[in-house]
Amino acid sequence: MGEVSTAGSGVGARVRRKEDDRLLRGRGRFVGDIALVGMKELAFVRSPVAHATITGIEIPEEHRGTVFTWADLAAGGVKPIRAVSGLPGFKVSEQPALADGKVRFVGEPVAVCVAATRAEAEDIAASVFVDYAELPVNSDMLEAVTPGAPKVHDHWPDNVFLETNVGGTIAEIAATAPVKVSRTIRTARQCMVPLEGKGVVAHWDRHVEQLVLTTSTQMPHIVRAGLSECLDLDQGLIRVVAPDVGGGFGWKGLLQPEEIVAAWIAMRLDRPVRWTEDRREHLVAAANAREHHYEITAYADARGRLLGIEADAWVDAGAYSVYPFSACLEAAQVGSILPGPYDFAHYRCRTFSVCTNKPPIVPYRGVARTGVCFAMEQMIDAVADAVGREPWQVRLENLVPPEKMPFDNVTKKHFDSGDYPESVRRAVAAIELDGWRARQKAGEADGRLIGVGFATYCEQSAHGTAVYHGWGIPMVPGHEQAQARITPDGGLELRVGVQSHGQSMETTFAQVAHEVLGIPLEKIKLVHGDTGLTPYSTGTWGSRSMVMAGGAVATACRTLAERLRRIGAHLMQAGPEAVVLEEGSVKAGAAAVTIREIAHTWYRAPQLLPADVDRGGLEVTAGYKPGSDHGTFSYATHAVAVAVDPEIGQVEILDYVVVEDAGTMVNPMVVDGQIYGGVAQGVGTALYERMPYDAEGQPLASTFADYLIPGFTEVPHVRIIHMLTPSPYTEFGVKGIGEGGAIAPPAAICNAINDALKPLGVTVTNAPMTPEVILCAIAETRGAA
């Protein structure tokens, strides 16, 4: 276990966030706060039908010149979005930024309208008449793969972006295993609903001759790359800036059609334009995630020791492949990570990325892991039930033990470190399982049923080059770069290409730099989210920023430290080997020279420098990769106690414990914050969030009155217990932690509900577990009895 101190303000300290002074006072600057002289607003005409051929678009005479369609963009040389995967068999979709003769989901942009205000732009949008010849619709992924289903992309032979097969035959195990349990498991289509929706301002900066796209994004450099491809514009002519961004969760980790349209209009009209996504657009037209379907079987021995897992999995990927993650990342990931944190030998998984008439699926916090954990952890409980043991005991039976670390699992995932079983033992103790079991036996005065559930996962984060090269998508992370620059007054500027939209990087990267250089946090400034000011980066996704960019910051600062030491030694007339850098000063015995003095010398009094001074000066750009290309593996066990009201199907969370291991924590308070937020979203996945579609592909929720998300009163008080096994491969031993909180709650809560419903003989397997789902399951069981 690590021994990093939590005092001071370096790595491990519970430092308050630097960015909060701005953000909590409402002084942040988001896309919606930007006003440029002469700026126009955009509104989109969006398809009201899920699948149709466009037979005509009528633009009223008085609005010609303010309404644009794909014909205009195509004539201007704009190309459709192509997010291709190199995996064999992947079928390519072309997504034009505005519909090109055909619409494939409700909400797909068909035309764009420009006006002085958004309301006027919407007035114009309402006056545009589009003639749709409706086509049969694929609204369900399982029907979309049946023979004769209508085709979303006419030139494809079927509606499958990609089929993958992982593992080999397990027929022998299937024939001989003492225990066999099967389940059909489903997670609903969700929206990500960050507090701030998507937004973009585009203008042509005549002075620097650049298109400037100020956009609410997690990955400015990737947006620039994608824009360059679609607009056929050199990357040097494009600058992408992310201002304050109010949450992303994946929704802002892609190139969006609206960004292309805004960029093109700004150049075409030679004036600034803005589009701000409203909540209805967000819920209806975009940001969809999570929809998985599993047919899964677990084989085990009489103790519950897993012998094999066999599964077919479908992911509803929607109509198009998103840039850069593609339409197949989610399902292909299912195949490779379904085995979870467990050690077993036999595995077979077939996955389908299914193309349907719904918005494209986007990787959402946890990506496939939330669904995978939901499926696998239900199977652990099912096995436990079959062999008559406590579910936590069966977890202990199967988790990779610490003595096997590092461990390569059945799909060749390289688990770097940790004590997985201990996380379960601590969770059992912390939730006080015995007390709940006694209460279950006694029964509740109000007739509710008590249940306790557990879920354990491990999470690959900070994915390396090999992992992404394997997907063959338009983005492969290599060495992450950071720039560190001592200012003439002895402060520090850090420049990173990742983007902070809630991750607290302005604080935590400063802590990393402070740990190396000793410069006080208030003198360290982070510059991020701007292709014009920062080194290239694939951006903030996959719980990677602290591992990758944090590692790069440390590496750059170490190089600076060495240069500072040498100049400092010269100024004190000491040998370089005789000095140390401590607490922001270079020291030789009792003598010391501060970084401020060294900076002054370099910038303002260079006549004092030694002849052999490093000409790189006090500015370093350094690249970094962890020691392993497989990424880090953080892990956790979540434990939850619930009360289920069998009369009205409602679930109350009575206690919630997270035992997690993020390796070394740079700022434990920030880690806790990430976990709280993740659990809140996981509670949404478990109990509330579902974007329903009817058979015609119409989304049946368009406001927060229909699309429920948990609020203050629904999110439990989460008790967090940290374990601390440093990764052997990263700077300081940090591991990715940003997504983990959102992975396990649906699984843990589902297992708790089923534990509660056990006396009724009822099992629920689909998320969200709404009152209706629970009441129907109870009614069905009663009907069958």
Binding site: T117, E122, R280, G711, E714, P771, E772, L775, C776
Partner: protein
Amino acid sequence: MKAVDFDYAQPATLDAALELLAREDVMVRPVAGSQSLGPMLNLRLAQPELLVDITRIAELRTIRQEGDRLVIGACVTHARLEDGDYPDVTRGVLPSVAAVIAYRAVRNRGTIGGSLAHADPAADWVNVLTALGADVVIAGTGGRRSVPMTDFILGVFETALQPGEIVAEIHVPALSDRARWGYYKVCRKTGEFSHATGAVLIDPARGVQRCVAGATSGKPVVIDGPALFADGCTEAAMAAHLAGSPAADDPIALRTHTVALKRAIAQVMS
């Protein structure tokens, strides 16, 4: 989305408001707290040409006792009813129910009259004022008329209001000392619209035994008189009384409405 372009008036007197509301040359709508109409405007589900804001009309913001009735102005907010700066003749019904309407932010602006005029079946006042036997005073250019709640709410978003008319007052009868009431609603989360509402009032001195099943797909279902209580208030009896009503759309809904009613009755019996 943004609302369509509309004109906005904020008259100081009821007569001035009614005059504007009677205009036939423009599409006109009254607005009070804007907690339902606001979202409808922004979604362009409502596209008025003139919005008449009635919240500055002093007489619509008063609460007064008149004999054995409490007279509540239509523009009194839920928050004020929650906070209770008035003689509560309902033995706690008004402040208790007001306190569980949506969230405080909604209660600060939302009004009792607006809630009734909107007539969402899941709204708290729609069901509670029916159980209390309240009357609604409607004002129009032709004068005033009083309508009992059971005749005011006609269906989903349907009321007895005629074009140009607004809710002016709600008259709530005082409960006797021995009156007992119960209220239970099934919401998926705090502040969310109810999926099933049970409201019960038993006031022997006034001969009232009334149960209301609300948040149905129609107007509140009223079970008036001693029949249900004579049947012992069993679940089977409740289900029988609700059968054929909008509360019995499907077995799961009927079951949930029965439970809501059962739990409201249990509060009265305890």
